[in-house]
Each structure stands twice: as C-alpha cells, then as structure tokens.
C-alpha cells in the first residue's frame, strides 16, 4: 500500500500515534518489549577479545586490542580506553570525518559505565607495579544504526571483556627486558556484569523500551538505567520531558528484569 508509506514519511508522528493508541508498535512489539538479542563472541581473531551484538537490526561489533604501556606516576593502574565509532556505513545520519557528537557522548557513556560499575579493577591490569601495565583499547563499531546503540554497546563491551585472552608478559628484574609468551593465555578477572536498559519518552507520556531509530527521532526525552544484579548502578536522563515517580519506578523494574535476562545470555554463551 504505497499511500501508507507516503503517510509514514510525511507525518511520522501521526503514523506512530495510530499504532500507540492500540498499545502496539509498528514492528509488532509491545511498549515494554525488547527486540530479539543475538550475541556472538570471538568473531575477530586478530583482536584479543571480540563480540558482535544484534538488537533487532541494530548491530555493534566490539574488538579489544591489548597493548603494554608505562603506568601513570609509578602506579598499579592499567588503562581502559573505550571508543564508540558511528561510521557513515551504519546510517545516513553520519558523514565521514571526526566522530559525531553522538559518538562522543556514547564513548563517554562507556567510560562512565566502566568506572561506575567497577566491573574491571584497573589494578588487575598491572603487569609489574610502577613499570608495566596493560592498556586495553576497546573499540565499538556500529555496523547498523537502528536505535538503542547504547544498550547494544554495553552488552558488546561486557561480552568482549569476558572473551578477552591476554598473552603472558614478563619483565626480567635485572635487565628490564620484556618477553611475551604467546603459548599461554590468561583471562581477565571480571566479577560483575552490569547491564544497561534504555527507554524513550514519546509524546510526553508514553514510555518505550529499546527504541528503534525512527522512535528515537520522535522522542521527547530519553532515559538509560544501568543495573548490576540486584543493585542499581546509575540512571542517566539527559533532559527532555520530566517523569513522574511511578513512571520512574516502572522503568527501574523493567531494567532489573532486562538486567537478569542479559546476564543470563552472556553466561550461557561463555559457558559454551
């Protein structure tokens, strides 16, 4: 029905309202329903750790390259360097060149996600105190931008960290010479599994979980909740329409549910 398509382009908001009146979204989901989540690890063998996450159409690939570096002011702390790339490949919204504003925001979100949840202790990345530490370059490349890249990124990030294998690096005490043994590998010690859940606010009252990019374009506000097991890690609400107490409570409950679901997904995959 071509006229139907025209209606969607000329009046996207009215198009959505017609669906939401009946508590359903154009892709047949309920308002609180996530898209099918597909997780894959170890897909890039040139990286020390890698994962691919698909949330419906949205897909993000994560690759972790480990390098060795000197610690800052003879400390014991290693480095975690997450960067989110939104290349022109993934959507018409992005042009070639330096990272877009959204990419910068997402990269900073990843830093906050890692530091707030303390899922990787930076001290664990120490090889020789004061001399040599690991620096993990975590690059998240969005391959298909169909909304909720934040949740796809955090999931990909956690899966890739769990998948990471580092070669054993030793430093000779006398000569200071560094040697790498590629025959043995060690895993990163990760105790926690934080999960993010994102919502958008449509038409100043309706909350939608796991928005597609069309839904994000129409949103009057957004909300991301990060949970870890039974704990609430952080809530990120960058302006937009204000929310009531009850609405906030609903979102938090939904986020806990999603948190356990995503955690189980990662565990199942790692056990394989």
């Amino acid at each position: 029905m071509p006229l139907f398509k025209t209606f969607k382009i000329t009046q996207p908001k009215e198009y959505y309202e017609k669906f939401l009146e009946k508590d359903v979204r154009p892709d047949n989901r309920e308002l609180g329903e996530f898209r099918p989540t597909v997780l894959n690890i170890g897909c890039v063998t040139t990286a020390e750790g890698s994962s691919l996450v698909k949330l419906g159409n949205t897909s993000v690939i994560c690759g972790i390259k480990a390098e060795v570096a000197e610690p800052a002011s003879d400390g014991k702390k290693g480095y975690l360097v997450p960067n989110v790339e939104l290349p022109p490949l993934c959507s018409t919204n992005f042009k070639p060149g330096p990272p877009s504003e959204l990419a910068q925001v997402l990269s900073q979100n990843m830093v906050d996600f890692l530091t707030d949840s303390k899922c990787v202790r930076l001290e664990d990345l120490c090889i020789v105190p004061g001399k040599l530490v690991w620096s993990l370059y975590i690059d998240l490349v969005c391959l298909d931008f169909d909304g909720n890249v934040m949740d796809a990124c955090t999931l990909a990030l956690m899966a890739a960290l769990r998948n990471t294998l580092l070669p054993v690096v030793t430093v000779d005490e006398d000569s200071g010479e560094i040697t790498t043994d590629v025959s043995i590998h060690q895993k990163l010690s990760i105790s926690k599994c934080p999960v993010s859940t994102s919502f958008i606010i449509f038409d100043k009252k309706i909350l939608l979980v796991d928005p597609t990019s069309e839904e994000e374009d129409l949103a009057t506000g957004a909300l991301t909740i990060i949970t870890e097991g039974d704990n609430l890690c952080s809530i990120y609400k960058p302006g937009g329409t204000p929310l009531t107490d009850t609405q906030m409570k609903t979102c938090i409950d939904r986020a806990f549910l999603r948190g356990r679901e995503a955690e189980r997904l990662i565990e199942e995959l790692i056990d394989k």
């Binding site: 071509p2 006229l3 025209t6 382009i9 000329t10 009046q11």
Partner: protein
C-alpha cells in the same frame, strides 16, 4: 518459465532485433540486450510497433530520483518573497532514499494572476505539498511548480499546530480556533480523500 527468471546486472538476456527492444532496467550493447539491475525478467508487447520490450523489474529495490514532469510530495522548509524552499520526500508514491532540495519560484505557484502572488499567503513552513518538477535546476535545487488545480498544499498546519481543513482553493480553516489562513490549496484527488478517511 521465463517470466519469473531472476537476472543479475550484466546478464545477457537476448539479441536486439526487429522484434526485441531493450526496456527498463536493461541496456543494449554489441547487438545484445543486457540486464542493468537485479530483478525479474519481464516481457511486454508495445501496442504500436508490436515489438517485444524486454524489462528487468525489481519492486524491492527501486532507486528513484526526481525527473522532469514527475509529481512529487515535498515539505516546505522556508519562504521568502521571491521563492519557497522545500525538501522533496517522494517521487510519485516512491519514497526517496534521501531528501532532495526543491524550489518553487513566485511565478510558478499558480496559473492565474501570477504577478499578484504573495508567497506567504500560499505556503507556510511545515506544510506538505504536491508539486511537479519543471526543471533539474542548478547545482542545488530542483525547480518545482504548483501551477495546476491538483497541485499545492495537501496538509496545512495552522498557527496552533493543528491540521487544517480546506474551505476554498485559497483558504484553509483551523478546526480548533476556526481561524482561516491563506494557502494555495490542492484540489484533492480521490485517493487522498481515501487515506484521509482512513487515518484522520
């Protein structure tokens, strides 16, 4: 069965001769007809010349760009006394992969009293219009025209942001405030009445 044969670009389809001529999605080279897109083989008979026209059709991946004489749907973006700028959303009923810029000059708005046209009494930013492409224009915009009864504003927003109802060829009324605003209203075709009933 040839009718449902799938062709890939560059596939040789048949010889060019008195009876076979290349149609859409094909090209002729060295006496042969080749497919130029991915799609289905289709044959139709030209009623005048009785030649068989070979097409390759693909309804899933049609690339369309505005062409001269095409009827387009566009959203008005800004207006000044000399011209009105808009972004073209669809060509016919086919959505564009990305919006193209269009421009309506003051003299192309309507057929009568061309010199007395006041553009801000014809269009407002945000209005959805139907127009005809009259020229490929310059490096930036296509030149559009609404100088036909069937062309002009189809969806007009009042100052309160409410969809207005057409009352005459040059006026629309806001159903909430009952204020009348000037527009170059399109004489709505039957098909649009059908969607209007369906959705609004």
């Amino acid at each position: 069965m040839e009718a449902s044969r799938i062709c890939v670009p560059g596939q040789r389809l048949c010889r060019v001769d008195d009876m076979h001529v290349p149609g859409n999605g094909t090209y002729a080279s060295d006496g042969f007809i080749y497919s130029s897109i991915l799609g289905y083989w289709n044959e139709r008979v030209n009623s005048e010349s009785k030649e068989k026209v070979i097409d390759v059709l693909n309804s899933y991946a049609q690339t369309v760009i505005p062409f001269i004489n095409a009827i387009v749907t566009a959203r008005v973006t800004n207006i000044n006394p000399r011209y009105c700028k808009c972004e073209i959303l669809t060509v016919g009923d086919k959505p564009l992969s990305d919006f193209y810029r269009g421009l309506i000059k003051k003299e192309d708005v309507r057929t009568t009293e061309k010199d007395r046209v006041e553009l801000y009494k014809c269009f407002r930013p945000g209005d959805i219009i139907i127009a005809r492409v009259i020229s490929l224009g310059d490096a930036q915009s296509y030149i559009l025209s609404t100088a036909e009864n069937e062309l002009g504003v189809i969806i007009g927003m009042s100052q309160d942001g409410i969809k207005m109802v057409p009352t005459s060829w040059c006026k629309m009324q806001c159903p909430k405030t009952l204020n009348e605003e000037f527009r170059k209203v399109a004489k709505v075709q039957k098909e649009y009445i059908r969607i209007a009933e369906h959705f609004f």
